[in-house]
């Protein structure tokens, strides 16, 4: 028996490290497989296996004495996790991702705080690098936590999605960052400085809130992917606190993947990350009013569902362009029904997806997948744009800025240079929209006044329901 214990004491640490290595490999392979729709599900399972392995290996660590409390945490977390994963509606996925990002940040910051507390309360020394790691982990973790909670509240409709701005906002953020840095230095000099430690916690929590409140709904894809990246970086920083390689590796992987997504989102809006974070759309009334005054002599052509159904039913090819309006109206199922009805009449139907349509990266894809639309029918912007010229009808459902032709030619427009879906090149364009309001950018959409454009007013769901009925009667 003693021999067995001895063997375990000798070999367990190496065993744990090897398990961590395997877990890290699982994460890398899993993420790699997430790059293709065919292997993605398998990749996710491989990632989960890696996680299970890492957790099991940690549980045999000889430094762990009390398992009951660990068990309580594991069970509560797992039960809640299973419940929300089953209960969440696909339309609520942006909030869900926001919430999960936040919990990841919170967990990281709690680990750093716990590590700090038990070292300090035992009067053990904390090295400078350890304190710096703890301070960094708390900064990133807390910003991820409160930032994600604000994003969650905005997406859930608990608070208004409109940007909240006030004078000297940037200056306040910079002052807070400087105070955080001073607080961190104080804790480095005297690790037992509890007031300083509490201070850097409070300031970083506040920074998270201030970082997300000025960002409006349409910029959410950027924020969500950036917070995703931060949740990884927070885990990586915590890895430096507890000096654990698998934490560092996983944190870096997630941080990198989130950054790539953030970059894709910024590129799809032709904006830089700082401009999204620090200078939102529609704050300078200039562009909006200017466009408004120019619309006086423009006319809008309306179309009724019957006429529109005829146009669609006798078209050869139809491209559906969904936007946030489809998500709000939860119209994905009727959209798919319309597409099915049209296909039965021999119309070729495809979907054109703009990378930033909706409130998170891939939002439209998830909704349409839920409605059983095969992903092979969903076309990326670069693939579909050259094909609009040969399209009979482009049907825009609740999308606005991402189809505004002003982005191509109007140098004055705030969205100038943003890559758009070129629906105006189709032979006809039908826009389903509730009214004539401007898009998220606050810019009026000149597409609505073009000769080939027809407006079908109404909520996406009602309008398409009526279209389905009309098309069936053709």
């Amino acid at each position: 028996m003693t021999q067995l214990t001895e063997t375990l004491t000798v070999w367990a640490p190496s065993g744990i490290q090897i398990a961590y290595l395997v877990a890290a490999a699982c994460f890398i392979i899993g993420l790699k497989k997430m790059g293709s729709p065919v292997t993605a599900r398998q990749g996710n399972v491989i990632g989960a296996i890696g996680m299970l392995l890492a957790v099991l290996a940690t549980l045999i660590d000889r430094h762990i004495l009390s398992y009951s409390m660990i068990g309580v945490g594991l069970v509560i977390g797992s039960v809640v996790g299973v419940w929300i994963a089953k209960a969440v509606a696909m339309t609520d996925m942006p909030q869900m991702v926001g919430l999960l990002n936040g919990l990841g940040g919170l967990a990281s910051t709690l680990v750093a705080s716990g590590e700090y507390w038990h070292t300090v309360s035992h009067g053990l020394p904390l090295s400078t690098t350890a304190v710096i790691s703890i301070a960094a982990s708390i900064l990133v973790g807390n910003i991820t936590f409160t930032g994600s909670m604000v994003a969650f509240a905005k997406l859930q409709g608990i608070m208004s999605g409109a940007p909240i701005r006030f004078a000297l906002q940037q200056q306040l953020n910079i002052v807070l960052l400087v105070v955080w840095a001073i607080g961190s230095i104080l804790v480095v000099i005297n690790p037992a400085d509890l007031a300083g430690f509490a201070g850097i916690n409070v300031i970083s929590l506040l920074l998270g809130v201030l970082f997300v409140i000025p960002i409006g709904g349409g910029d959410m894809p950027v924020v969500i992917s950036l917070l995703n990246s931060l949740s990884g970086i927070a885990a990586g920083a915590t890895g430096f606190v507890v000096m654990n390689n698998v934490l560092i590796i996983s944190g870096a992987l997630v941080g990198a993947s989130g950054l790539i997504l953030t970059q894709i989102m910024c590129k799809a809006m032709n904006r830089t990350l700082p401009s999204v974070l620090f200078s939102g759309f529609g704050t300078d009334g200039g562009a909006g009013t200017e466009a408004g005054s120019g619309t006086l002599n423009k006319t809008v052509r309306q179309i009724d569902p019957e006429e529109c159904a005829m146009m669609l039913g006798y078209a050869r090819s139809v491209v559906i362009v969904p936007g946030y309006g489809m998500a709000v109206a939860q119209a994905q199922h009727v959209v798919r029904e319309l597409a099915d009805t049209l296909e039965r009449k021999g119309v070729e139907v495809r979907y054109a997806i703009h990378p930033v349509a909706g409130r998170m990266p891939g939002h439209m894809n998830v909704l349409l997948a839920e409605a059983n639309v095969p992903y092979t029918q969903l076309c990326d912007m670069d693939d579909i744009n050259p094909q609009f010229e040969n399209t009979d009808v482009a049907l825009v459902i609740g999308a606005n800025d991402v189809v505004n032709p002003a982005a191509r030619h109007d140098r004055q427009s705030p969205i100038y240079g943003m890559p758009i879906l070129e629906v105006d090149r189709a032979k006809h364009t039908v826009v389903i929209k509730r009214g004539m309001s401007a898009g998220f950018s606050g810019v009026e959409n000149e597409l609505f006044y073009k000769e080939k454009t027809m407006m079908l007013f109404g909520s996406a769901k009602d309008a398409i329901n009526r279209l389905v009925n009309e098309v069936k009667q053709l």
């Binding site: 993420l31 997430m34 790059g35 293709s36 729709p37 996710n44 990632g47 940690t58 660590d61 430094h63 762990i64 409390m69 660990i70 945490g73 977390g77 797992s78 809640v80 996790g81 299973v82 969440v88 696909m90 869900m96 999960l100 990841g104 967990a107 709690l110 680990v111 716990g114 590590e115 035992h122 690098t129 990884g232 927070a234 885990a235 990586g236 890895g239 430096f240 507890v242 390689n245 698998v246 560092i248 996983s250 944190g251 870096a252 992987l253 990198a256 989130g258 790539i260 997504l261 990378p355 998170m360 990266p361 891939g362 894809n365 998830v366 997948a369 839920e370 992903y375 092979t376 990326d380």
Partner: protein, 96 residues
Amino acid sequence: MTESLITAILIFTLASFTGFEIINKIPPTLHTPLMSGSNAISGICVIGAVLVAGGETGTTLSTVLGVVAIACAMVNVVGGFLVTDRMLQMFKKKES
């Protein structure tokens, strides 16, 4: 300490490059599952939480912080992997 710190920085840097390489060219269809799946992986800090909560030198407060961290991270891990799987099983190539 310095040596292990440099090793840690090395690992972090190399893992970041690995991340950029393997996730490059992800199709837009998979943007959301990639986010929720990678988010589940960032729940790896459950390991740090377990070490803090069950550590032999733990105090009451550090144990409580550790247990709350375990719970949060597990919601992240379990919720993240499950919801990603739920999404991915909807992604079909053609109708059956």
